[in-house]
């Protein structure tokens, strides 16, 4: 089994490791770096529980090898929380009861972080579409949608624009 060297930034810090070439990115985060806030719900790219931000784009850590994150700037729920940049969204999720078991929650927060970083005032339907790649089995989504809508509205009211280096991903070609 060939090993590869991978160097990237995770939650703002430089990380270097030698890993098996086939090691999944989510397993790398969870098992090697102890970042267990990234969850594996399906390991086939449908449920979105493993969503992380890579160079500002929400990606599925279960569909990538660790080696593919080489040179990237990766953020997980732990980093987004410590950094404080989604504190308003986290607060809104709790207030709107946008989580029950909470297993899907980090994935939703990361996906919503990407959407919110674009700025603007998305409609309810736009929020629902933006979140449609994440599955929640507990809430029926209403609390999650309300939390994201409210956070977007508050940010727009405060005049927060798109953040540098974030959110640009949604307008880039896929891939």
């Amino acid at each position: 089994m060939s090993d590869v060297r991978v160097a990237l930034r995770v939650n703002g810090r430089a990380v270097e490791a030698t890993v098996p070439a086939r090691l999944g990115l989510a397993d790398f985060l969870r098992d090697r770096l102890g970042l267990t806030g990234t969850h594996l719900g399906c390991e086939h790219g449908v449920c979105g529980a493993c969503t992380v931000l890579l160079d500002g784009i929400a990606v599925r850590a279960c569909l990538m090898f660790a080696a593919q994150a080489e040179g990237g700037d990766l953020w997980t729920i732990e980093g987004l929380h410590a950094d404080g940049r989604i504190a308003d969204l986290q607060e809104a999720m709790a207030r709107h009861h946008g989580l029950q078991c909470g297993f899907c929650t980090p994935g939703f927060l990361v996906t919503a972080a990407e959407l919110l970083a674009e700025g603007g005032r998305p409609s309810e339907q736009e929020v629902r579409e933006a979140l449609s790649g994440n599955v929640c089995r507990c809430t029926g989504y209403q609390g999650i949608v309300s939390a994201v809508l409210e956070t977007a509205r508050h940010r727009a009211d405060r005049g927060d624009g798109p953040r540098d280096g974030e959110g640009a991903g949604r307008s880039l070609p896929a891939g």
Binding site: G41, C42, C47, Q90, V127, V135, Y141
Partner: protein
């Protein structure tokens, strides 16, 4: 200190702080020194004899520690338990955790590999040689019961597990010549619970015993059952349910993987972990529903219901798991629902097939029953040319008639169907939507509007132990709670109920805060660990609050009683003169002297001056066993738009007015309703587990099994009425399953109502575009000008 009551407040959840930051403790997060990983080889055949299994190619490979076949573990693995032998002559086949000589569903474990790395364990499965002799799959319940059918368990001589009958009143008279009778055959499709957290189990040898962490709803039941299955003494087993990511019944189970992982840790004297992959989980975590319902409703010409006949076939799958045969029986009592009948007959036959076993899934028997009766009532309304709501009104139990004993022998203590319905109709705009429906029909719009009603009830708060005994269930239905008063006046609440998303830590804190007069923040709730909370019956059946919450109230009462004696001594008054309110003990009728419960806690700890014969502890336990079930009810209304050219269904609005009794935390209750609605709507419109003609599960990824996303669901309008339950001191009824039970028939009634004018009187679930389109085509594809222009018109 007197503050506003906690009960009834929208308290934000204590659980959320860790869940929104990723600082959680799921079973799969656990890493232990020297931990090994197990992977299971699973049957690709629905039914086959195992001629030979050879794991020798695995042994000696890098990273491999051991490999075992079912035969290797046959002497110690026991048989997975069924705790609900519903009849005396029930057929319960042996259920080895790993198959020994025959496999009976795709996904059944046949061998396992233990390695130092999860990836290596998975790789090695390919090196196991296995020789199967194919046997005929048994996939259709009706065919399985026919003469000469192939057998799932050849030694049993039948594919029928049991037949359970119930009858009350003169059914023949009710269905006499003068009755209007509507008969239907409904299919409850097989569903996959699909909790977001995959199952996971870690077992570590510790001293002369074992600790198991498992993503389970039932740590207490699991410990007992593991002891009975493996022979490992109960006191040497500790089971911990750490953070658990949803269950919906699917983690109410004693699984093959839990038993085998325990046995591997025992053999290898090392910690062993197993976490399922999603496809593995979809194939081998128990499924839900799967019934064929032959149902008939008899009424007078003026719409008064007379009788109800129900014949069920319930697919057990290949084996009976923990409560597999009991699930349809929970429904037996609920078919009469909120209506009055002269007569009722019910019979259910459990049928073995070569599929994954079924077991409890959110609602468990009650959604199936509610679906059938609420669909039938709509069909009867068409037959009688009455408005479906008016037909319900004529037959439901009126609020002044409670308590009311139904034809199924349940005594509903309270309820007010009129009030919930009135509120729902107002929120929904029923008359206006009916007018729009008529307009669209008149115009022949491609998109038609349908209105669906579901006036439901359910039995919750499982369960009175006495009744469970009568139903041959293997255990009781009580729940326990303990309250520990710490010296500083802080409180530890221990509950035997084990939450996995329901918010017990918050709701139990609210209850204890009110009962003890302490701040909400001063309460910690401990649960889900047999060493911390040694007694419990766990979480399912909307029972936690009605049963476990009541145990907590009783334990708090005992703390206060003990504290009162000590406070009386401190205040130099007689105990009878002490009153307790808002956390303060006072001599009746005087503001001073007074002492707080915190001061009493400290004085009790110090124990320098306790009254004669009083122990130095305020800690108290209680175990509550309910006398009766609780009966939440509600009225749900759904408006669905159906594109008659494509068959696409879009939910336009959904109103749910639920009566769940007294509400501890409205925020949590609303969340439970929303989530329940999503799962019930999913059965109506999206989800179906599909096996092919060889018994392969086709829907074995989340790309094939369609769980609705945020974009698929509407915004729900929810409200409540409140008639307190009289079966517990909190007045609560339970809310975990209400939305799921009510919503499926509301949605399908709306879909059928939208295309009734085409001559359609049923659409098989899920009402996918294909099913809807076919229903229209099979009915002729053209709206009739006179036929069934909608109920009431």
């Amino acid at each position: 200190m007197t503050t506003a009551p906690e009960v009834g407040r929208d308290r934000r959840r204590k659980e959320d702080a860790r869940l929104i930051t990723g600082r959680t403790n799921w079973t799969d997060n656990i890493q232990l020194p020297g931990m090994l990983y197990v992977a299971f080889l699973r049957s690709p055949m629905a039914h086959a004899r195992i001629r030979n299994v050879d794991v020798s190619g695995v042994l000696g490979q890098d990273g491999v520690v051991a490999a075992y076949t079912g035969a290797d573990l046959a002497a110690e693995q026991g048989s997975l338990p069924c705790a609900w032998p519903v009849t005396e002559d029930i057929v319960i086949p042996d259920h080895p955790p790993m198959a020994v000589d025959e496999v009976r569903y795709v996904g059944e474990a046949v061998a396992c590999v233990v390695a130092t790395d999860r990836y290596v364990a998975a790789d090695m499965l390919e090196l196991i040689e296995i020789d199967y002799e194919p046997l005929p799959p048994v996939l259709d319940m009706e065919a399985a019961l026919a003469e000469g059918a192939s057998l799932v368990h050849s030694d049993k001589g039948t594919n029928a597990s049991f037949t359970w009958p119930f009858s009350a009143g003169d059914v023949d008279a009710a269905f006499g010549d003068d009755a209007v009778v509507v008969s239907r055959r409904y299919v409850q499709q097989r569903l996959i619970p699909a909790a977001m957290e995959p199952r996971s189990v870690v077992v570590a040898p510790e001293g002369d015993g074992y600790t198991m962490w498992s993503a389970t709803q039932i740590p207490h039941v699991l410990r007992l059952m593991l002891a009975m299955v493996t022979g490992i003494a109960e006191h040497q087993l500790r089971v911990v349910a750490p953070d658990v990511g949803g269950g919906f019944g699917s983690k109410l189970q004693v699984t093959a993987e839990e038993v085998i992982t325990l046995l591997l840790a025992k053999r290898l004297r090392k910690p062993v972990k197993w976490t399922e992959g999603r496809t593995e989980g979809i194939q081998t975590t128990h499924h839900g529903r799967d019934q064929i319902q032959k149902v008939a409703l008899a009424a007078d010409r003026d719409g008064r219901f007379r009788g109800l006949k129900i014949e069920l076939l319930a697919d057990m799958g290949a084996y009976l798991m923990l409560v597999t045969p009991g699930v349809p029986l929970l429904g037996a009592f609920m078919f009469p629902a909120i209506y009055k009948f002269d007569a009722y007959s019910f019979t259910c036959t459990g049928v073995f097939t070569t599929k994954m076993p079924t077991d409890a899934y959110r609602g468990a028997g009650r959604p199936e029953a509610t679906y059938a009766i609420e669909r039938l009532v709509d069909e009867m309304a068409v037959e009688l040319r009455m408005d479906p709501m008016e037909l319900r009104r004529r037959n439901w139990i009126k609020h002044e008639e409670f308590p009311y004993t139904t034809i199924a022998t349940l005594t509903y203590d309270t309820g007010n169907y009129e009030a919930a319905t009135e509120k729902a109709l107002q929120l929904f705009g029923y008359d206006k939507l009916r007018a729009e429906q008529a307009d669209r029909r008149e115009r022949g719009d491609a998109v038609q509007l349908g209105i669906g009603i579901s006036t439901f009830t359910e039995m919750c708060g499982l369960a009175p132990s006495r009744i469970l005994g009568q139903l041959a269930y293997g255990a009781g239905g009580w729940e326990s709670a303990s309250v520990r008063m710490l010296p500083t006046g802080k409180v530890e609440v221990v509950t035997g109920s084990s939450a996995h998303g329901q918010g017990h830590e918050t709701a139990w804190s609210q209850i204890a805060a009110d009962q003890l007069g302490v701040p909400f923040e001063d309460v910690t709730v401990l649960h889900g660990d047999t060493r911390v909370s040694p007694k419990g019956m766990d979480t399912y059946g909307s029972r936690s609050l009605a049963v476990g919450g009541t145990a907590l109230v009783q334990a708090c009462d005992r703390v206060v009683d003990k504290a009162k004696r000590i406070a009386a001594h401190m205040l130099e008054a007689s105990e009878e003169d002490i009153e307790f309110e808002g956390g303060t003990f006072r001599v009746r009728g005087t503001p001073e002297p007074a002492t707080t419960i915190q001061e009493v806690a400290l004085a009790t700890f110090a124990a320098h001056d306790l009254p004669e014969g009083v122990e130095a502890s305020l800690d108290s336990d209680a175990t509550f066993d309910p006398e009766n079930f609780s009966y939440p009810h509600g009225t749900h209304l759904c408006a669905a738009e159906v594109d008659t050219e494509t068959g696409m269904v879009k939910l336009r609005s959904y109103v749910a007015v639920d009566d769940v009794g007294v509400v501890i935390n409205p925020l949590i209750v609303e969340g439970q309703v929303h989530g329940g609605l999503a799962q019930g709507i999913a059965q109506a419109l999206y989800e179906e587990a599909v096996y092919d003609s060889e018994g392969n599960l086709l829907t074995s990824t989340l790309a094939d099994y369609l769980i609705p996303s945020a974009a698929d669901l509407p915004e729900f309008v929810t409200d409540r009425t409140e008639t307190p339950s009289t079966t517990n001191p909190l007045g609560v009824k339970g809310v975990g399953e209400a939305g799921t039970i009510a919503s499926t028939p509301a949605v399908v009634n709306a879909v059928v109502d939208a295309i009734r004018q085409f001559g359609v009187n049923d659409v098989p679930m899920p009402c996918s575009p294909e099913h809807v389109w076919r229903a229209i085509q099979e009915a002729g594809g053209e709206p009739a000008t006179t036929l069934g222009r909608g109920p009431g018109r």
